[in-house]
């Protein structure tokens, strides 16, 4: 009571009007920051965005002829790799930690370490993953500065997001489901395959898209492994006319080929002094921005859908 008495009357009333006003202004500042960012990059790159040649041309010394063909093909291939590897490791790891973990004794301690470790991985600066990839994948495993290396690097970046989302999705499934399955004689794996996985698929997908939307704009780790900025060719086409419709030698060539990705292309263009390249950078940046917005919106939508579908 004493505390409140010391506050003069005028302060009591005014602070509750003034403060939220400032709060709202701060929020407005953030929103206008985002709008300025989006509009600036859109207006700067507009000329190139409406030019169809921009999407199907290789980079060039001449800014008006340069395009993002090798950039978006590279991004597509690298992301395919990153998604594959991060699902391969992330989903089983999430299932183990949530479904199988014993949580006590010696094994429990190891599980605790795994859990802490995944949390720590999420907080490591992205460029450190680039150093890991450079030291291990490029030089010690001799995988070179290839699409395979890039995919592996980005998959490590996505891994914590996928594990966390998988675990959250599984945790939402009530215990009754598992017990009902066991009661009719299902093994643990039967339960996971027939119930846990299908019900948590939406959550896993959300995690995958959010993770991918982060990885797609990531530049630093790929620069560190030595991705080239100037690529004027595409990886070979691994598909063939006869059975089995895919040539494995060619496929390996694809994995091993040098690459560039959209963000690196943007970085390269931004650092050039000519204004023409900066227009290209803005256009490519806007495309990247749109991709991340679409992916995040999709994740948001799926999360909403899933929550409505399974109400336990």
């Amino acid at each position: 009571m004493k505390n409140v008495d010391r506050i003069p009357k005028y302060k009591k009333i005014k602070s509750d009007i003034i403060f939220p006003t400032f709060g709202f202004i701060a929020l407005f500042l953030v929103v206008s920051f985002i709008f300025t960012l989006v509009f600036d990059i859109f207006l700067d790159g507009f000329v190139k965005l409406k030019d169809p040649n921009f999407y199907i041309s290789f980079p060039s010394r001449f800014p008006d002829k340069a395009g993002i063909l090798s950039g978006w093909v590279g991004t597509l291939l690298v992301m395919a790799g990153a998604i594959f590897w991060s699902l391969l490791i992330g989903v089983p790891a999430g299932i183990y930690l949530e479904e199988y973990a014993k949580k006590r004794g010696f094994i429990g301690k190891i599980e605790k370490i795994i859990e802490l470790n995944i949390n720590n991985l999420a907080a490591v600066p992205a460029i450190i993953y680039g150093l890991l990839a450079l030291g291990i994948f490029v030089y010690r495993f001799k995988l070179g500065e290839s699409i395979l290396t890039a995919g592996l690097t980005l998959s490590i970046l996505m891994l914590p997001v996928i594990v966390v989302n998988t675990r959250e999705a599984i945790r939402r499934i009530p215990k009754d489901i598992r017990e009902a399955a066991y009661a009719v004689g299902a093994t643990k794996w039967d339960t996971v395959r027939d119930h846990i996985l299908p019900y948590s698929l939406g959550g896993i997908l959300t995690g995958l898209i959010i993770g991918a939307s982060r990885a797609i704009g990531e530049t630093a780790p790929l620069i560190t492994i030595g991705a080239l900025t100037f690529i004027a060719f595409l990886p070979p086409n691994p598909f063939i006319a006869e059975f089995p419709y895919i040539s494995f030698a060619k496929y390996w060539e694809v994995l091993m080929s040098p690459f560039t990705v959209l963000p690196i292309q943007i970085f390269n263009w931004v650092s050039r002094p000519q204004a023409g390249f900066q227009i290209n950078a803005a256009a490519a940046g806007f495309i990247l921005l749109v991709l991340t917005v679409v992916m995040n919106a999709l994740a948001y939508y799926i999360r909403l859908k899933v929550r409505r579908k399974y109400i336990w």
Partner: protein, 297 residues
């Protein structure tokens, strides 16, 4: 009775092994990171003494006379992080209090995804925006601002880390039980004084944890500073001058051709190791603060 399970028992065991292996791989990633960082940093210190690394005041690995003093890079990194925090802490706190104590549900529902979106924007896009929009704009206000400087990237980073400084702070404030708020109102305190005297002290560890994670993010951020802060390792606290951060140096060296085992190659691991240690300390403090939240109530 269970003999009818047959092969299923083995499938079950096999799948357990698969899941367990996947979990262990996540540990191998950390071991891999620590292994490369330590081994290559050790190689680096065979050529350059630790004493030089820590006492020399210049960082000139690409010059003819190579000097390896980490301080210009550390000062550059922390200068930018400090500017980012000066922007982000007041802004984040203001937004957090507003959202958790005043805002209607509609505003909250719109504001949250917008703030979270700041983290989703590709950093290279922020870099473009900093170099070609924010810096020219600031040059009209701040005299003698060079086209590469630490002020503009610092300000942009301040916005970029709002998901930590605003969103996490708001989550911490929301975690304060409603009964405590109501007890304060019942004593006649206004919303503002409740927020200042009750809510913030009660959720301070969560708020500070968010600030520290934000700072850690600003320290490790690469593309914004590589594009717009310059490439000049410069031991200065003048935000108008070009500088270089640890991450910026790694990018600069990696853009060239890197022979395995060369001094430039090894130096980026030494710098990376320093960065890793700083980030690790920051994250540990944040994690410790977060664990304190649960003890309170």
């Amino acid at each position: 009775m269970f003999s009818s399970l047959g092969y299923k028992k083995y499938v079950d065991k096999f799948m357990l092994a698969v899941f367990l292996t996947a979990s262990f791989i996540t540990i191998f990633i950390t071991i891999g990171i620590i292994y490369v960082l330590i081994v290559d940093t050790f190689q680096f210190f065979k050529i350059v003494s630790i004493k030089e690394f820590l006492t020399e005041k210049e960082w000139t690995p690409v010059f003819a006379t190579k000097k390896f003093g980490i301080w210009p890079l550390i000062s550059g990194t922390f200068l930018i992080a400090a500017i980012a925090m000066v922007v982000s802490i007041p802004l984040g706190l203001l937004i957090a209090i507003y959202l958790s104590e005043y805002a209607s549900d509609t505003i909250k529902e719109i504001a949250k995804p917008i703030i979270e979106f700041l983290e989703a924007v590709p950093t290279v896009v922020y870099g473009y925006f900093t170099l070609l929009f924010v810096t020219p704009l600031l040059q009209k206000i701040v005299p003698n601002l060079e086209s590469f400087n630490s002020l503009a990237p610092g300000i942009v980073l301040g916005f970029m880390i709002l998901p930590y400084t605003a969103s996490m702070a708001e989550d911490a404030m929301k975690g304060v039980p409603q009964r405590i708020r109501e007890a304060s109102y019942a004593l006649g305190a206004t919303k503002f004084w409740t927020a200042i005297k009750i809510i913030i002290p009660a959720s301070i560890s969560g708020i500070v944890a968010g600030f520290i994670l934000g700072a850690s993010r600003a320290v490790g951020e690469t593309m914004v500073v590589a594009i717009s802060a310059g490439m000049y390792p410069n031991l200065t606290i003048d935000p108008r001058l070009p500088i270089q951060t640890m991450t910026g140096y790694i990018v600069q060296v990696a853009l060239g051709d890197l022979p395995f085992g060369s001094i430039e190659y090894l130096s980026i691991f030494a710098v990376g190791f320093t960065l890793f240690l700083i980030a690790f300390i920051f994250n540990s403090i944040a994690l410790w603060l977060k664990s304190k939240i649960r003890e309170t109530y």
